[in-house]
Symmetry: C2
């Protein structure tokens, strides 16, 4: 069992960060949030971090909205390393992670995506799912690789899609499962309970 030193990257509200902070505070996850980084200066995720006494940083990523520029990436890596992060958890981080960061934390960068991947990668996955007409959607925690939402899957949780769902109601229902899923995945990682075999992430002592 190890205490994960988490670096959390997010661009928005940070509800997954909050779920992680709450469960750590309740001593139900062997982890510490070492630092939080956002590409958005006024993202609420930074506020949540400061509120919890966690070092919080805005990294200016320049004019592109989806790319992480080289300088910004190096700055993020430095902050993560200076704060002793051994695991990077993306929590609504809206930029594609590049190879340098992945190499700095091999098989230690996690993401959560609001669909049952490989269905509906990319933006507003809950809306894609609703428009496609699936009856089940959900969320996926996966290791990050160089593709978009393509890395090995650690776990998934499903939710029913209702006839009356709007993008917003479906998104909310998926988010409540995201919190459970992310914590469960981090717990498996902290307890050394998973191993990667090719694309499959298997449970050890299982």
């Amino acid at each position: 069992m190890e205490t994960l030193q988490l670096g959390v990257l997010g661009s928005g509200n940070g509800s997954n960060l909050q779920a992680i902070l709450d469960v750590i505070a309740a001593c139900k996850l062997e982890a510490k949030v070492a630092c939080v980084i956002s590409d958005v200066a006024d993202a609420f995720i930074l506020e949540r971090a400061r509120e919890a006494g966690v070092p919080a940083f805005h990294v200016d990523c320049g004019p592109s909205k989806s790319k992480l520029e080289k300088d910004a990436e190096q700055r993020a890596i430095s902050i993560l390393q200076e704060h002793g992060a051994d695991t990077v958890a993306l929590a609504g981080f809206m930029r594609i992670i590049k190879p340098d960061l992945l190499r700095a934390f091999p098989q230690r960068v996690l993401n959560i995506h609001p669909s049952l991947l490989p269905s509906f990668p990319g933006l507003r996955a809950w809306e894609q799912a609703l428009n496609y007409g699936v009856r089940h959607s959900g969320c996926t925690v996966h290791f990050v690789d160089e593709g978009m939402d393509t890395g090995p899957i650690i776990l998934q949780r499903t939710v029913l899609v209702h006839d009356r769902d709007t993008p917003d109601t479906l998104h909310k229902r998926i988010q409540s499962q995201e919190h459970i899923a992310y914590i469960e995945a981090l717990r498996l990682l902290a307890r050394g309970r998973i191993k990667i075999e090719g694309r499959r992430v298997l449970r050890t002592n299982d």
Copy 2:
């Protein structure tokens, strides 16, 4: 409430046909199997049909393994119409259905696919799912359109993927859900409980 007159098309074992026949025999589905058609002369699905006293036909589809030739398609349409079929249920039929047949039975051709579409369309979907490393798979009943496994989804059922699964064990677990799903979808259709809105299939009186 209507009694569905089903024409069932299959290429193999016909376990979904058997599930449908059994539930009709138990008076739990307002349907009758009007005829069964296979592109494979010695497919067991034809044997199952004959065993149940259902007219069974082999339609020779020529040398291609995946296409339904024009003549064969016309022959299939004729058989379906002569036997009073109003609904066509594909049950392991390994050829792509063409526009003429779809036009003869508008919004009345159903298929069942062994994955949570849109993930893993095409052949051996259970194996694709296992190799990709998803933690949940399942099956999808959908209306057939001119694409491959792309039509509006009527319902889906999920199954867990286990670490120890082989393609065969996962396939079997999905198949047992297929039988439930197909019958449920046909029951919704027989009871006029569904309406198609764009890509979404909604429940009426819901």
